[in-house]
Amino acid sequence: MSELPPALAEVVDDFAAVPARDRLQLLLELGNELPHLPERYVAAHEAMEQVHECQSPLFLKVEVDGSADQGKRVRLFFDAPKEAPTTRGFAGILHAGLDGEAPETVLAVPDDFYLRLGLAELVSPLRLRGMAAMLARVKGQLRAAA
């Protein structure tokens, strides 16, 4: 299996290290740690992209900051309601694992990395598709920005 960026690998290891029962708790915590939207996106969903594959409304926006010489960094912004903790948790995993990485690093993340989280039996494979869709949209916005 291909390598994951260090922060994302750490998240995956955290999931692997706990008993199945505690993985949902971990997912919940990652969702809770999702930062608030910056002012420019608050109440501006039209400036973000909706991920239709998620069972609850999720909006995401990718920005790239930094410069070519200093290194470019990917910034991820997510918004999902608190009534959708699973969707928030999935977003939290991507945020914790990929925010601040270089664009090429994010583009190189295997599309099926989420299978390593050990969540399929707890959450059902169908629900996990939302995470695959989120990563696909992140990569799509990155390619469009390049």
Binding site: H52, Q55, P57, P85, V123
Partner: protein, 293 residues
């Protein structure tokens, strides 16, 4: 042991008021022996963010479905699930959940396949409980194991299979999906993932009544006269009808099954859980396209 019926006047208008409880009734009876509260949600983590004190979680994906074949669990697995949740055969089970009790009604319907006698829905579900500022906890209850017999599932009364639907063509049928799914314009719910149907449209002769029309703004069920206006006035059903309801995988239609059976008192309503993901993929079954007549 079975708990007393909720005698709230709002519930008395329905055909089977014993199938509903109000939030006030539930708050008063929490902790009563003989009662188990079950939360069943679309979002699998919602229970873990806080739930009705003492409630257990039942997830249809991971607990009510057979892990291999496309079917519900069998009698032995169901008995084990019930025992683990602290439910006995005579326990009063009150279901509640997110999104107008969508998944709670589905869980209730699956319990009905096993003939669990006392199943009730919390009118207004999770949303109403939360909106009223009632207590929530993240404590997961440690319930003593329940004594539950192995009861074989009886699918005949409330479940329809594809062959039953073929034999039912021409009789009353309600498609509870969104108008776009019904007409064939969409292959899945708006804003939801595509779950793989090869063809769009509806079973010929079905009437389109989106499931959530049965719910009021506050997630409680609409009054009985409004429900009759929708299902009888608009969709042309009447009490003695033999009705089949379906959606995409049978969850939204469980909600309508509950409305027709327990709120309006229809005796013969079956839920076709194969629904559009089966029908829309089946070779040579008849399909109709276009909006509701």
């Amino acid at each position: 042991m079975t708990l007393p019926q909720d005698t709230d006047p709002k519930l008395a208008q329905y055909a089977h008021p014993e199938r509903l409880v109000t939030t006030a009734w539930l708050a008063e009876h929490l902790g009563d022996p003989g009662l188990v509260v079950v939360e069943s949600d679309e979002d699998v983590l919602l229970y873990d963010t806080g739930h009705v004190p003492g409630a257990v979680k039942v997830d249809w994906h991971t607990e009510l479905n057979d892990p291999v074949s496309r079917d519900y669990v069998d009698g032995a697995r169901f008995a084990e699930l019930m025992a683990a949740k602290g439910i006995a055969r005579d326990t009063t089970v009150v279901f509640y959940g997110d999104r107008n009790n969508w998944w709670a009604a589905y869980a209730l319907w699956v319990f009905t396949l096993f003939g669990h006698a006392d199943v009730r829905l919390l009118d207004g579900g999770r949303a109403k409980w939360v909106a009223e500022g009632r207590e929530l906890t993240t404590d997961v209850p440690e319930r003593p194991r329940g004594d539950y017999p192995v009861v074989e599932r009886d699918d005949a009364a409330v479940r329809a299979f594809k062959e039953d639907v073929l034999a039912h063509l021409g009789k009353p049928m309600v498609d509870v999906r969104s108008p776009g799914e019904f007409s064939g314009e969409l292959l899945h719910m708006p804003d939801y993932p595509q779950e793989g149907a090869m063809r769009g449209g509806h079973v010929p002769g079905a009437r389109n009544v989106p499931w959530a029309r049965a719910a009021a703004e506050d997630a409680t069920f609409k009054p009985v006269d409004e429900l009759r206006a929708i299902y009888e006035g608009e969709a042309g059903l009447s009490t003695g009808d033999d009705v089949v309801v379906y959606c995409r995988i049978g969850e939204r239609s469980s909600h309508t099954w509950f409305v027709l059976t327990h709120l309006l008192g229809y005796d013969k309503v079956r839920n076709y859980d194969g629904s559009w993901t089966e029908w829309g993929n089946s070779v040579r079954v008849p399909i109709e396209k276009g909006a509701s007549a």
